[in-house]
């Protein structure tokens, strides 16, 4: 395994891979540092640039974006008090107060170094655990896969911030999009209403770009000229104070348990499908506060808060990559785009991915590992530039990002149809956001819809006994976990409502 990893590292160190990796990491850091631009949006923008590259170079660029974006978000967190990307949300709690206390440099570099160490620790798990996970996945039959996908969707729907019902509906909308077009067994047209436009179904990536990038930008435009965006303009251009990188690192390594535990939290959240970096950073922050000897200092510029959040969100990337490589399930929206890119290059992700494509699999590990020193170099060399990046106006950013979205959709198969789909789902995504529907369950439904149907039908064709979904041990356990997840979400929602009712007396 170490031989393969070494050859992967040697392979990635070639210019044809190193350059896309470095460029991807740079774009990731810049995209992450721009408030309102998520990592998903950045990876979507980079996607069309990877069409012409060889598969590993494209995936290396995306891995770079993912790692860079997970770190870049902390710049805006510390300087503006606004998360550059959702995965850095918990960094704001202590990063901004520390910067306001006159130590913006210490806040930023604590975050950058914690990201590097958290990410590299996560790499150990990525390299050594993905294979065993894939081996477990190989034992899965269609029943287990179906149940695993159901669990993934139940968890995501259950974690929806607004309401479980909206999460479930959002999941169902995602699943529904995948059934439009010809059915996978008999090729019978479904819900096409005789239209050639949707006869072949909706292409996955334009839908994803429309829902995530378009809807996100339109939501950001609503806030243009608001007090928040004015604050964003006026606070930019901060200068960092002088400090020692050695001291920052000693500060991190003085608390090995905090670093290790935050990494593990990030990794686990990353492995769980579609939960994402924001949850991992908040959970690691919460855990750090619970285990801390000085919990009262959290929220006032405490280094522990920054270390926990940043180590966790970078380790989250390794967890997400593990899930995509072992099970073929995207860990979050970014890996969903990566999964789409793999499909474009004719690579089938899943339990056989590592054994059938060892060069690409170990290339991804190597890209993930090398992305961290790349990110560090970029931050060291270009921090003054990145401090200015946070002040780029939305009026400039939005049209450029939208053009790249359109090109990304068009270049998929050189037809305007993908662009129309992009626009249609941009509108749908925006309406759903305004109605309070979470988009993560929709995306997961969209990604897993085909697989769920195929595995369901395959299971029934193998043995028509529906009880097998419950009586096969792993499948049964997964479905039980799914039911528990939904049950817990209902209970939590009910408890929240009850507390609210108790706190607000009826006038």
């Amino acid at each position: 395994m170490l031989d393969l990893l070494w050859s992967g590292l040697v392979n990635i160190a070639q210019w044809k891979y190193l350059l896309p990796l470095f460029a991807g990491t740079f774009i990731g850091v810049v995209g992450g540092s721009l408030p309102g631009v998520t990592i998903t949006m950045t990876v979507i923008v980079v996607l069309p640039f990877t069409y012409g590259l060889d598969p590993l170079a494209g995936l290396a660029a995306m891995t770079g974006v993912y790692v860079g974006g997970s770190t870049g978000g902390l710049i805006a967190c510390c300087l503006l008090g606004i998360p550059g990307s959702p995965s850095s949300i918990a960094t704001t709690f202590d990063g901004f107060p520390m910067a306001r206390n006159g130590e913006p440099g210490r806040a930023i570099w604590l975050g950058v170094w914690a990201s590097v160490w958290g990410g590299l620790l996560g790499a150990l798990f990525l390299v050594f655990l993905t294979g065993p996970l894939a081996a477990i996945a190989l034992e899965f039959g269609p029943w287990e896969y179906f149940s695993l996908f159901v669990l993934a969707m139940a968890m995501v729907a259950g974690l929806s911030e607004s309401s479980l019902l909206k999460g479930l509906i959002s999941t169902a909308i995602g699943l529904l999009i995948t059934v439009v077009g010809h059915d996978p067994i008999g090729s019978v047209p479904r819900f096409t209403f005789g239209s050639a436009f949707i006869g072949g179904g909706f292409p996955f990536l334009p839908v994803l770009i429309g829902i995530f990038a378009f809807a996100q930008i339109m939501t950001d435009l609503e806030k243009l000229n608001s007090p928040r965006s004015d604050a964003l303009q006026s606070l930019a251009g901060v200068r960092l104070e002088r400090f020692s990188h050695l001291k920052v690192n000693l500060e991190i390594f003085k608390q090995p348990f905090l670093l290790a535990w935050s990494t593990i939290v990030g990794l686990i959240i990353g492995i769980l499908p579609a939960i994402g970096g924001s949850a991992s950073s908040v959970m690691a922050y919460d855990q750090a506060k619970k285990f801390s000897k000085t919990p009262d200092r959290f929220g006032k510029g405490h280094p522990e808060g920054i270390i926990a959040s940043e180590a966790s969100n970078n380790a989250n990337v390794s967890g997400s990559l593990m899930t995509i490589m072992a099970f073929g399930i995207p860990g979050d929206a970014v890996t969903a785009v990566m999964l789409g890119a793999m499909t474009i290059h004719g690579i089938q992700s899943g339990p056989l991915f590592i054994s059938q494509n060892p060069d690409i699999a170990y290339g991804i590990y190597a890209a993930y590992i090398l992305a961290h020193p790349c990110m560090l170099l970029i931050c060291l060399a270009l921090m003054p530039l990145m401090l200015r990046v946070t002040s780029v106006r939305m009026a400039v950013l939005a049209p450029v990002v939208l053009v790249l979205c359109v090109v990304g959709a068009y270049a998929l198969n050189n037809t305007m149809q993908s662009v129309y789909v992009l626009l249609l789902f941009g509108v749908i995504g925006y309406v759903l956001v305004k109605l309070g529907f979470p988009l993560a369950p929709l995306i997961l439904g969209l990604i897993l819809g085909d697989q769920i149907e195929i595995n369901l039908v395959r299971a029934i064709m193998t043995d028509a006994n529906p009880w097998l979904f419950l009586t096969r041990p792993i499948s049964g356990l997964l479905l039980l976990a799914a039911a528990t997840s939904v049950g817990l979400a209902i209970w939590q929602h009910w408890r929240h409502q009850t507390r609210m009712a108790e706190e607000e007396p009826d006038f």
């Binding site: 069309p48 640039f49 069409y51 012409g52 309401s163 019902l165 909206k166 479930l168 509906i169 169902a172 909308i173 699943l175 529904l176 059934v179 059915d183 067994i185 008999g186 019978v188 479904r190 819900f191 378009f214 339109m218 435009l221 609503e222 806030k223 243009l224 000229n225 608001s226 928040r228 106006r393 939305m394 009026a395 400039v396 939005a398 049209p399 450029v400 939208l402 053009v403 790249l404 359109v406 090109v407 068009y410 270049a411 050189n414 305007m416 662009v419 129309y420 626009l423 941009g426 509108v427 925006y430 769920i452 149907e453 369901l456 039908v457 029934i460 064709m461 028509a464």
Partner: protein
Amino acid sequence: MILLAVSLFLLVKSFQLPSLPIVPVGPGFYPAIVLSLMAAASALLVVQDLLKRRAPADAGDAPRRNYRLVVIAFAIVGAYVALLPLLGFRIATVLFVGALQAALDRPRTVRQWVVLATIALGTAVISYFIFERYLLVLLPRGAWTGF
């Protein structure tokens, strides 16, 4: 309510899909499960909303939203998508980037207009060279302009 109506309508359609002789479940089997889930969740949401409406509405101080800007942005994007196959990528993109920038933050000085035009032109030229020349992606040509 709309979601409930759509899911019920499609549910009926899924039952009308033809079954296949060899396969134990037809093409409508899986969509019917998904649509039943969607219809049930939508119905519960409607009930939940009706119950909430009885409670006094929470006024709150929600942040001011600029929906007019969103409508304008959608209209400009729509025009861009419509004009793309007619004017071609290069011309349509210059117009789109310029128009959207002007709509989002109207330039007031000559210098601001120059910056706007430079960004519009730069976006079209750079993306054209990267995609068409370097990555060999054939971008849309205009049916009206041939450019």
